[in-house]
Point group: C2
Chain length 341, copies 2
């Protein structure tokens, strides 16, 4: 899922997203709460009507942005109060108001409010935080069933930091409540990749086989393959779009940093094997020029390429799985990683 933070994937028209075959977007409730406000979005037909995006949308609860962006955050059993990073206005989010917010935004998949924990955390801190999140998940589920229109779905989020017993307890409590999909939260928050993979391996057997699993906020193209190998079905990440704007472009042989002088006269595309609208047309030299000149088109073209690369990576994963040759893809990725390290 490309990330459309403020009701737009930065620099992309909805037509461009459609022609890249983007199937679903993530939008951030936190940003919509602050600006333009849920009432305006709801009046304009929810996020779908507001953005004019007809395909599915997932919204997060806002909890993570409160944790990472806001000022003067205060968490209690009831919920979280915080000040906007934009103008200091005070807001409160409870499990219930988070559901109401996401119902107003009208996303197809919505997420429960959870308590976000910094990494590293002691087992005691992680237990308190996880149990609070599970209590909140229960309250979210109740409010959701009261208020949400049919068609919307609420996922659960497994927490518990890096502690396998806590992760197991969290998964079991969520399954008891019952959700149509399960996210793994609290990863990609600074822990080493090996730790993230290990947590996924520990959580995996505790999740139902017949429900989608969504790893929040991950990751590199290699992460996608490694995490699919550990049972993950869905991802969201700002990496392809944010890196694009910083001139970091993905290729099958790693990445290139387009500002480097070596690309000054380079007539080749970003990736000679790529069939995206940018690689079939533009040279590295032109893309470098646009980046150095600070042109808007630099962000636009780089974003098209990186999104294409990520979606293509997911397509390749699906194909390799379909042909029962996923192990080959995994071996290929690990081999390349080894060669590069």
């Amino acid at each position: 899922m490309p990330v459309g933070t403020q009701a737009t994937v930065k620099g992309m028209t909805t037509e461009q997203l459609q022609s890249l075959s983007v199937e679903i977007l993530l939008c951030n409730s936190y940003h919509m709460l602050l600006r333009p406000g849920p009432d305006i979005v709801a009046k304009l037909g929810g996020l779908h009507g507001f953005m004019k995006w007809e395909r599915p949308i997932l919204t997060d609860s806002g909890g993570y942005q409160v944790f990472s962006l806001s000022k003067f955050r205060k968490v209690s059993e009831d919920g979280v109060t915080f000040q906007s990073h934009l103008d200091g206005t005070s807001y409160a989010l409870t499990p219930e108001s988070s559901m109401d917010l996401q119902v107003a935004l009208g996303a197809d998949i919505i997420m429960p409010l959870d308590d976000c924990l910094a990494y590293p955390a002691t087992p005691e801190m992680a237990a308190v935080s996880m149990r609070r999140s599970m209590d909140w998940a229960g309250r979210c589920s109740i409010r959701f069933r009261e208020r949400a229109p049919s068609g919307q779905e609420l996922f659960g989020i497994v927490q518990g930091s890096v502690y396998s017993d806590l992760r197991q307890e969290s998964a079991e409590r969520l399954i008891e409540i019952g959700f149509p999909g399960y996210a793994v939260g609290g990863l990609a928050v600074g822990e080493p990749n090996a730790v993230m993979y290990e947590v996924l391996e520990q959580v995996e057997p505790h999740l139902p086989d017949d429900k989608p699993r969504y790893l929040m906020g991950v990751g590199t193209p290699e992460d996608l393959v490694e995490c699919v190998a550990r049972g993950v079905d869905m991802f969201d990440c700002v990496m392809p779009t944010r890196h694009a704007r910083n001139g970091w472009l993905f290729t099958r042989d790693g990445h290139i940093v387009i500002k480097h002088a070596e690309y000054k006269e380079d007539e080749r595309p970003i990736d000679e094997t790529c069939r995206c609208p940018v690689c079939t047309k533009h040279s590295r030299a032109y893309l470098r020029h646009l980046f150095m000149a600070g042109e808007i088109l630099s962000s636009v073209l780089n974003t098209i390429h990186n999104l294409y690369f990520y979606l293509d990576t997911m397509n390749r994963i699906r194909q390799f799985i379909e042909f029962r040759r996923f192990d080959e893809l995994l071996a290929k990725v690990r081999n390349k990683q080894l060669r590069r390290t």
Copy 2:
């Protein structure tokens, strides 16, 4: 002609420009000289190959940007020396090197180096400057015939500030040299609109009927109609694109400033009569949100609308001329102007 200052119309892919039926772009030689440099552009196939824009391109000489942007400008009979506004590097432009630069850039229509004069100027200053520009036009023409490949065309530029005798002398000297098209320069530099119109009326009878006339750096939608009424065929201006990025959007009833709070919940398009890809899809409320949030897509969508509006204005002018009803269009524009003042 939309302006593609640094080898890109800010925020627009070439596909978007094509689907707007943009027929010709203007690019700035000055910017290409400084970054990425003409050698790189030439190596990548000229501006057409560099930008991947197959339709016509016009380049200016760089003289106006030297006048308006550069530091420590020094003009002599031979040409102009100046320091880059980017990093202070020294450059020289002569009539000859300006031709070589534009030949390297490979534009379809190129412009002679001229001496740019601040407004207002005394008749004496204007005469000296105009005669220097005419000498340079002669030198440009000689160099152009020696160096330019077939297919490229060099226009002349009429100068002479607001003085009709100087404008006449300038037009006559250019016609003596002989050009396939004639630009009117030194207007839209701060003089009142009425003065600009008057100068055009005075110049008009001195220009050949069978050659295109190009008014440089103009203007508002109303200016386009008023100047066509005075014989102008071609325009370039940053107004539609620059105003778009500042949230100033053109409509048939004047303009709207999209940041205004009155558009916060406005479900209507920018202009209800407009058939552009933005007006047929997006609300003012969404466009206001994108602008307030500082989103790249704000610049992109606003630019699409404003370019469509300008090109549509030119299309309407052509249609009214074709049906021999141009006077009606002119009366309509003047009526609206009166109503608004």
